[in-house]
């Protein structure tokens, strides 16, 4: 990311592209876009990544997380047709940079989060994936799976608590 932000390094971008483009496209297709819309939208997401590379803060998000937020916003743009309001930016000043120890700590946390997600019981993992693919509210998920709202809500809460616990 640093090579893209500082040197407009196209080789570094191609590497990120090879890793993330097929996943971003998969995410968009799981979210309801057809193949050609997902391809076009994925290209927009990856182009945005290039343009906004200087905004990326490695002490607060992994590259995957950051790309997820770009893909989510583009998806809302396209499928729900509105520009989602974003919180005020918290940028690094010109002389400051993220602390390397913070960056490394976040990378470790991200690794543990991925492991915890992989270790979840299948049903809980699917619920979480559904919540992130769909623009389904909890009640719509309940309607889709025939589960009562209270149960599904506490399942998601429990899954997230486990994730949090395994990160601490």
């Amino acid at each position: 990311m640093e090579a893209i932000a500082q040197d407009q390094d196209r080789k570094a971008f191609a590497e990120l592209f090879r890793h993330f483009a097929p996943r971003v496209k998969a995410f968009l297709m799981k979210s309801g876009a057809d193949e050609s819309l997902a391809e076009e939208c994925m290209q927009d997401v990856m182009a945005t990544l290039w343009r906004k590379a200087h905004m990326y803060d490695p002490s607060r998000a992994s590259v995957a997380t950051w790309i997820f937020t770009i893909a989510r916003n583009r998806k809302i743009d396209l499928l729900r047709r509105y520009a989602r309001p974003e919180p005020e930016d918290l940028p690094w000043g010109p002389e400051q940079a993220p602390d390397q120890a913070d960056v490394i700590a976040l990378q470790q946390d991200t690794g543990r989060l991925a492991q915890a997600l992989a270790k979840l019981p299948e049903k809980q993992r699917e619920l979480i994936q559904h919540a992130y693919f769909g623009d389904l509210s909890h009640s719509e998920i309940a309607a889709a799976t025939g589960l009562p709202l209270g149960t599904i809500k506490s399942r998601i809460r429990l899954a997230l608590e486990r994730l949090r616990h395994s990160m601490s």
Binding site: F13, A14, F17, F20, A21, P22, R23, V24, K25, A26, F27, M29, K30, E39, M42, Q43, M46, A47, R51, H54, M55, R60, A61, S62, A64, T65, W66, I67, F68, R72, N73, K75, R80, Y82, R84, P85, E86, P87, E88, D89, L90, D109, T110, L113, A114, L117, I128, A131, Y132, F133, G134, D135, L136, S137, K153, I156, R157, L160, L163, R164
Partner: protein, 213 residues
């Protein structure tokens, strides 16, 4: 950062992170998160789950010339736009929705000295600014759905305590509450509702069609 006493519940923040909230609620959460680092950290934690879900997905094929097409879209690097930090009453997302700060709001009287300005309304919900004169009360009401109230200026008090700048109150159906603006200055709130409110008592009921909540 203000010293925030009342925070957004997790399901709301997760809904914001996944992109599932109605537009009116997105605006309130984005504004609350701008005022609360705690809420921001929680939203970003939920976004990290989204990152893990993305990373875990099986790859699908992309077009053969996908990278070339993307590089063509990138074009020449433009100047990096400096992020806008609001120094007024309204954080940037609210400023964008209003088209300016407090002085740009086109208030309309809705009775009893209360003023409002509807910022967004669709079949899923309505976002509005309310301005309650110092020491005065909002009409007593209960509602069918969820109501989110974020304080931007002044403070109000109800059955759940005092709410000041940055504080967020989330009330669901069955809650019957009477917010009263604290003395001193007018209370400005950003309110999102996802169903029409039911007002109690004759006079406020007459006011309801004007309020539209």
């Amino acid at each position: 950062m203000t010293d925030i006493q009342h925070h957004a519940p997790d399901d709301l923040l997760m809904g914001y992170a996944t992109g599932a909230l109605p537009q009116a609620f997105d605006l309130v959460v984005a504004t609350h998160v701008s005022l609360s680092d705690d809420a921001r950290a929680r939203v970003e934690a939920f976004e990290a789950v989204g990152g893990a879900v993305l990373e875990d997905l099986d790859k699908v094929d992309v077009a053969d010339d996908s990278l070339e097409q993307t590089l063509a879209k990138i074009g020449a690097p433009g100047p990096a736009a400096a992020p806008v930090i609001s120094d007024g009453t309204f954080p940037t997302p609210l400023r964008n929705a209003v088209g300016g700060d407090e002085d740009a709001v086109r208030w309309r009287y809705v009775g009893r000295g209360v003023k409002q300005c509807v910022l967004h309304s669709d079949e899923h919900g309505t976002a509005r600014l309310l301005r309650i004169p110092a020491g005065r009360s909002m009409p007593e009401h209960s509602h069918n759905g969820t109501e989110m109230t974020l304080v931007l200026k002044g403070a109000f008090r109800d059955e759940d305590g005092v709410f000041a700048r940055g504080d967020l109150e989330v009330a669901d159906a069955q809650v019957n509450h009477t917010p009263i603006a604290e003395p001193g200055e007018d209370c400005i709130c950003l309110v999102a509702t996802d169903a029409r409110l039911k007002f109690q008592g004759l006079l406020p009921r007459i006011a309801q069609p004007f309020l539209g909540i």
